[in-house]
Amino acid sequence: MDKVISPKEAAGMVNDGDTLLVGGFGLSGSPLSLIDEIVEADVKNLTVVSNNLGEEGRGLGRLLKKKQLKKAIGSFFTTNREAVRAWADKELEIELIPQGTLAESLRAGGAGIPAYYTRTAVGTDLAEGKEERSFEGEKYILEKAIKGEVSLVKAVKADKLGNLYYHKTAMNFNPEVATAGNIVIAEVDEIVEPGEISPGDIHTPHLYVDYLVVNDRYVKEGGRYVEKNA
């Protein structure tokens, strides 16, 4: 099965009202080409699950700017001032969850675990309304798994089967996100033949990945991804 599709075909798989799970830590390891394609596809009322909403006008910040987002779920939004403004103007719902809970809930979502207990956030405002239970004398709260219609991840390299290799800390949430979506689309800089990535170097095995898209909009210059022709 050929998993390689065009960015436009990939964006066509996202529907109004979908929940998108998106890898990346800020712009690092963020599927920038796929996001831009979804901006152009003009789908609406999206819920995005990602650690941040990119930066102002960059990465996921573009979906926000174009008012395609209904809700954002993640751990840190204050670095994108437009997200703060949109939230204050009631144009964007925000659900704040601790970073470790975000990662673990995505992991659980992909691993068939509906919910789990954690000590993180017990006794804080972020635990409001969550079931509390004690184990061996310590308090925990129940956190639910996160799943979504479409997962968007970024890897530096894939083979044609869909095995993924991430580059350094650009890995971040991508491996978890790649397990938790109904449709999983990976944006990569390079596609190689099966066998060319050493089996021990494969971070996300191909069974998680449905489609591959080659990053056609960004090139790496001076250690940073910049827009081609920008």
């Binding site: 830590f25 800020g26 712009l27 690092s28 390891g29 650690n51 751990s75 840190f76 939004f77 204050t78 670095t79 997200a83 703060v84 939230w87 204050a88 925000i94 704040l96 969850i97 601790p98 970073q99 470790g100 809970t101 975000l102 990662a103 673990e104 995505l106 992991r107 954690t118 000590r119 993180t120 956030a121 017990v122 006794g123 804080t124 405002d125 972020l126 308090k139 530096v156 580059h167 350094k168 800390t169 650009a170 890995m171 971040n172 949430f173 991508n174 491996p175 978890e176 971070h203 001076g222 250690g223 940073r224 991804y225």
Partner: protein, 218 residues
């Protein structure tokens, strides 16, 4: 705050570590600590997926695929490892990290802390703060003794939203070092330019003075 005060805090926190420790450093003053470790070999954990942060790279070697949790370019020290966010937080939440050095907006006299939200402002960023508070083996707070307008940060009771049930083990400010024993705050070291009486005036929290009080950074 003056650079020398920040240095004083960072230097003092650095003394707490031993060779082999796994440490997670928060943003702000904690990022200065590696400069003061002397010959001690510690391993710096970054919650975005790295154990073994190395020195800051020169401009021509910057790779934004290799960044700290503060999104600053970093390098990897020999023996560094890379992993995903859920693995990274399993290390934190599973108490495999020896110490977290965190900033704080307030700490109360029993060691409870607030470091993620200000009342009346939008609550839109928590990051890994609550995970570190809940899971690190030791919590060290590094903060200035007062806010810019002189309001004490060491308080009798928190007025800011707390970061968890877990309490800090130690507080280092430019004025002194405090440790918590059985939920009581003890002053164990004091800056040479201030007396205990003067320190009480700028500290809202009640603290006991250790019978073995020392001068800070000497």
């Amino acid at each position: 705050m003056l650079k020398e005060e920040r240095v004083q805090i960072a230097k003092r926190v650095a003394e707490e570590f031993e060779t082999g420790d796994i440490i997670n450093l928060g943003v702000g003053i904690p990022t200065m600590i590696p400069d003061f470790l002397g010959g001690k070999e510690v391993y710096l954990h970054s919650e975005n997926g790295l154990l073994g942060i190395g020195p800051t790279p020169p401009e021509e070697e910057i790779d934004m695929d290799l960044i700290s949790a503060s999104k600053q370019p970093i390098t990897m020290s020999p023996g560094a490892s890379l992993f995903s966010s859920s693995d990274s937080f399993a290390m934190i939440r599973g108490s495999h990290v020896d110490a977290a050095v965190l900033g704080a907006l307030q700490v109360d006299e029993t060691g409870r802390l607030a470091n993620w939200a200000v009342p009346g402002k939008s609550i839109l960023g928590v990051g890994g703060a609550m995970d570190l508070v809940a899971g690190a083996k030791k919590i060290i707070l590094s903060l200035t003794h007062q806010s810019k307008d002189g309001t004490p940060k060491l308080v009798a009771e928190l007025t800011y939203p707390n970061s968890g049930l877990r309490k800090a083990d130690m507080v280092v400010t430019e004025k002194g070092v405090f440790r918590f024993i059985d939920e009581t705050m003890y002053l164990v070291e004091i800056d040479e330019n201030i007396t205990v009486e003067e320190l009480r005036k700028i500290t809202d929290a009640h603290f006991e003075v250790s019978s073995d009080l020392k001068t800070m950074n000497q």
